[in-house]
Amino acid sequence: MNIHEYQAKDIFRDCGLPVPPGEVATTPEDARRLAEQYGGTVVVKAQVHVGGRGKAGGVKLAENPGEAMEHAANILGMDIKGLTVEQVLVTPAEDIDTEAYVGVIVDRASKRPVFMVSREGGVDIEEVAARSPEAITRLAVDPRYGLLPFQAYWLAASLYDDIKQQRAAAKTMMSLYDAFIQSGASLAEINPLITTPAGEVKAIDAKMNIDDNELFRRGAIAAMRDLSAEPPSETKAREADLTYIKLDGDIGAVVNGAGLAMATMDLIKFYGGEPANFLDIGGSSSPDKVIAALEIITSDPAVKVILFNIFGGITRCDDVANGIVTALDRINFELPLVIRLTGTNEEEGVRILEQAGISASTSMDEVVQRAVVVARGE
C-alpha cells in the first residue's frame, strides 16, 4: 500500500526524524491560511501516489499567502499521470546547502533490510544507480539486532564530513530504521535529506510503501489508505479479496492464480488481442468471489468478451461454475462468455454449466484464441 508524503512525514516525526512542519489543505483557502500561519515562503506540494510531481507542475514555491492560494487552486484537481490531486501539503520552504538520498528497502537478494545512501540526492536514485553506482553506499541490516549505532555512523560518515552533521545524520538513520520496522514498510525514503546553510540536517521529503501483509496487525497504518487515490473497481476487488488491475484492452479475464493470470494476459496478446484487466480470484474460491469478479469486469464499458481460465487446484471447478450461473441470474449483462475449466471437480463444473446452456473447454490455447476472435467481432 502506498501512503502520501504527509502521512509518511507524520510517521517520521513520531519516530523523531527532523521533519519541518507541514499540513494538508483540500481547498485554496486552507492553503492560504496555512501559508499565513507559517509566514515567509512556503512550498505547495500535490499529494498523489506517483513520482515526478515536480516535473508535472505539482510542486510550487509561494512567497506569500496569496500566491499559496493561487498555486493550490491550480494544483488541486490537477491530473498527474492519471491521478487527480485531492490534497496539497503546505510546508515552510527551506534554504538548501546540500541534498543527499537516504532509503531503506527489503532486499530480495540478501533477504534483509538494506540501507542505500548517496551524496547525490534530490534526483531519482535509479538514475544515480545507473550513472554512477559507486556514488551509492549500501548496508544490509541484520533484523535480529536492528541498525547498530556504528552502522548508522558509517552511513552518516559516507554522506557528511562535518562531525555535527554526521551525528545528526546517524540519529536520522536510527529513527528511519525505527519508522521502517514499526510501520511494516517495504520502502522508506528521504529524498532529499538536506543540510541548511546554518548546518542543520532535515528531511524535507518522505516516501513510504507499506507491505500489504502487515496491515492486519497495524490498524493505524491501514486506516491511512486513501480510497480516492485508487480506482473504485480496485477498491471493490480488494474488499471481495480479489486482485484486480484495470488495463486498456477489451477482453475481460477471470483467472485463478497470479502466475496463470499473467500468462493468460500474455497469451491474449500473443494471439493479437488486448486484455482489459488482470484479475486473480485466488485459491479456495467461493461462488461469491466469482460474482464479484463478474460485477467488476462488466462495469468496464470497454469489455467485449469475458474469458474464464480456471485450473482447479484448491479452487473447485464446481464452485466457479455455480458462481457463473448465479451471477448470470443476479446481474444483467449481454457480454459473451468464453470458459475454460480444468482440474478439481471438472466434470461437475462442466455439467453445471451445460445445464445452464453454457459450454466450456479444457484448453487454454483454444479459449484464448476464441476470446480474441469474439472481441474482434468476427
Binding site: V106, R108, A109, K111, R112, P113, E126, D142, P143, R144, I181, G184, S186, D211, D212, N213, E214, F216, R217, T243, I245, L247, V255, N256, G257, A258, G259, L260, A261, M262, A263, M265, D266, L267, I268, K269, F270, P275, F278, D280, G282, G283, S284, F311, G312, G313, I314, T315, T342, G343, T344, M364, D365
Partner: protein, 292 residues
Amino acid sequence: MAIFIDNDTRLVVQGITGRDGAFHAQQMQEYGTNLVAGVTPGKGGQTFTDGPEPVPIFDTVEQAVREAGANTSVIYVPPMFAADAIMEAAEAGVELIVAITEGIPVLDLTRVYPFVQERGARLLGPNCPGALSPGKAKVGIMPGQIVTEGPVGVVSRSGTLTYELVYLLTQAGIGQTTCIGIGGDPIIGTNFIDTLQAFEADPETKAVVMIGEIGGTDEQEAAAFVTAEMSKPVVGFIAGQTAPPGRRMGHAGAIISGSAGTAEEKMQAFEDNGIAVMKRPSDVVELVRSAL
C-alpha cells in the same frame, strides 16, 4: 529418485485441524504420502481421522518429531502465526519445512530465514504450492491427478501456472521426477538455483522446466547457474510479458520497477544461457521433447 520429498518423507501437518490443513492432510494421505503426525496446540492426544489411516495429533512439533519421527513439515496456519510455526519446526529438528501460507509479512521472513538456516533446515516457500514427487509423495496443495512419473523436473514461482504446464506434459505422456513450487513472495527459503542444483544431482531427472515471472533477478541468476553448473537441458517460461510496470500482480514478488526484472530481460537471460524459451505455455511439450 526425486528431490526434496520421496518414500522416506515422514510428514507432520502444522494446522491439521484447520479447514485447509484437514482437507489437504486427507488429500496428501490419499496420494500415498507417509503422514505420521499432525500438530494443533491444545489438541494433543486427539486423532486425525479424515484420511484413510488414523494419525496422532500433538500439541507441539517437537513431540511430533520425537514421538512420530517426523522429518518434513507442511504449514497451513494463518499468516499471523506462520512465522512462529516455521521457526518452531526448525527448532524441533525438522529437515524440510514447506510453508503454504500466503500473506506472511516480509519483515517476518527476514528474521525467519536466518533462524531456519542456522538450524540446518530447508524452507520451501512461503506462499507456495509445495512439492510433488509423482508416485512417491505429495506435500502441499498441488493436485495429484495432473502428474505422472517420468524424467522431467519442474520448478516454478507460481501455483496454477505450474499445474497448467505439468498437465500439458502429462497429457503428452511426459512424466515428472518432482514438481517444486518455490513461492511468489519477495523472500523465499529455497530459490531456483537451490532447486536446479538438486535436479542436476538427481540421476533420474533428465531435463528441467523452469517457470519464472516478472520481478527480481532470481531467473537471471538461475540462467547464469545453468551455463556454469548444469549438464542437463533446461526449458523456460516467463509470465508477465504484458504486465504494466510497477503494478502488483497478485504475487508480491512480481513488481517491476524501471528495467530490473522485466519479462524481456529474463527471457533474454534464458536465451543467452542456452535455455529454450516457450512463447506460450503449450510450447512446453515440443521443447521438452526435443530436450530429452
